[in-house]
Amino acid sequence: MYKNPVYKEKSPRKKITFNSAQFIGLPYYVVLISLILIPVILIVFYAVTERVNDLFITFSLTYFRQFLNEPAFIKTMFDSIKLAVYTTIVALLVGYPTAYLITKTKKKTQNLLILVLTAPMWVNMLLRTLAWKQIFEMFNASLLGTDFAIITGMVYVFLPFMVLPIYTVLSKIDPKLYEAADDLGASKLETFLKVTLPLSITGILSGVTMVLLPAATTLVIPKYLGKNRYLIGNLIENRFLQFGDWGYGSAIAIILSALIMVMVYLTRKLDRNPEAKE
């Protein structure tokens, strides 16, 4: 009887493929669980427990209560968020026209302009912030420590995060849409308000999230440009590294994460509206 020897040899091999595919992913699962999942669980654990003595720990919300009862800390939190919101608004007001004007040039110029605008992003953020400190000292040292200096520094450092997503969305808009709007008698302003803006809302929102988040938690910029001003990131740094106060520091980190998630959620929510209208 004729047998196909090749076929017979094949089947065990397929099994090996399957097993080895599972096996090569193993180191990642170790990283995922031990270095990503467990740390998050630890933050929650430290925030909601309190050490009674060397042997016992109990559930407690003392740290959260402590934070909410301390007006100075609440003020720091809102100060950080306020500065982050101002930064985001300025970055949007500057970044949107920049991205828009780039899309109006030739394709080759577009690539070059994007490169020119984003290249400094690869330079260490601390060095770029120090550069601004130097500029302020050169022209008007009294500005250091003010909201203006901090916002300028943050806009400078995070601007590419606003320009890039907006540019990506704008450059994908079909030029025929503009022609159509023009043919239908829309003025330039009308075209912008009714065609360009609604179509770029996704880019705007992703830019807003990408600027808001790091701006609200930065340690470096308030230290250099705010003359050691104390924002929420510095508060967490202080609790952990100066006082070794794990529980309190974790509680602040959780409150901060929660606030940021709410802001991100609200931003995403905005994305729904224009789509629903269409």
Partner: protein, 261 residues
């Protein structure tokens, strides 16, 4: 654009370029300053460059930053690429769960990731130093490798691996000769992202390094205030990045030309 708009647009872009490059130029210019001031020009000198290379503190920080970035990039790229291949073959439930956990360090503010890793090392009584810093870098680089490589692996034709198998390739051969060449661009992009993230990282390193330093920690914990040696270091970094960016730009525009031809 009409006659009024064009000069307006040009002026705006000009101001933007000035805003972006003025600080960089001032960093570079004052690295060549004769005196110690960062605001008054006293003449040309290269003394800060000699001082930079003589400073053991800064040189240690630079070398450790590079070493950690190279190791973290290698490890996270390999782990992440393999995991992306595994993931593409996993059940949907597992996939969704894994990708959700994977996104935690991407969505969370850096400082929260930093705090979590610090607590991990403290809870298990691991002494903080270069090893913990490297582990932390692997922890935040790998998720970015996954989100860069996984979409590419998912878009691969599943018949490709099957075909290799049917033609008698061992799984390792199939991986090396069929799958890796297909996803090469994504893997290189992922490695580049991992390297820059590790090289520039401050917050997570600061929380997990103990008394170890990298460039960012060195700058942040500088007690005496900034000296022009830092400007000299910046100038070198800017020069290297500038060259890389320019090289990439010309290479990619050449490739574009080829495609058009």
């Amino acid at each position: 654009m009409n006659k009024i708009q064009k000069p307006l647009a040009r002026t705006f872009m000009g101001i933007m370029v000035l805003f972006i490059y003025a600080p960089i130029v001032s960093l570079v210019v004052f690295s060549f300053n004769e005196n110690k001031s960062l605001t008054n020009w006293g003449g040309f000198s290269l003394q800060w460059y000699t001082k930079l290379f003589d400073s053991t503190d800064i040189m240690t920080a630079v070398i450790m930053t590079l070493l950690i970035a190279i190791l973290a990039t290698l490890i996270s790229t390999v782990i992440g690429t393999f995991a992306a291949i595994t993931l593409s073959k996993s059940k949907k439930v597992i996939k969704d769960m894994v990708l959700t956990v994977n996104n935690i360090p991407i969505v969370n503010p850096e400082i929260v990731t930093a705090v979590g890793l610090l607590l991990l090392f403290v809870s298990f009584q691991v002494d903080r130093g270069y090893t913990t810093m490297l582990l932390a870098h692997i922890a935040f680089c790998t998720p970015y490798v996954i989100i860069t490589v996984y979409p590419k692996v998912r878009s691969l034709d599943p018949n490709l691996a099957e075909a290799a198998n049917d033609l008698g390739a061992t799984p390792l051969q199939a991986l090396r000769m069929v799958i890796l060449p297909e996803i090469k661009v994504a893997v290189i992009a992922a490695a580049a992202i991992a390297f820059t993230m590790s090289f520039d990282d401050f917050v997570i390193s600061y929380f997990t390094a103990g008394s170890a330093t990298n460039i960012s920690i060195y700058l942040y914990t500088l007690r005496r205030g900034v000296e022009p040696t830092i400007n000299a270091l910046s100038t070198i970094i800017i020069l290297v990045i500038g060259l890389l960016v320019t090289y990439n730009y010309f290479k990619s525009s050449e490739e574009e030309k080829k495609e058009i031809d």
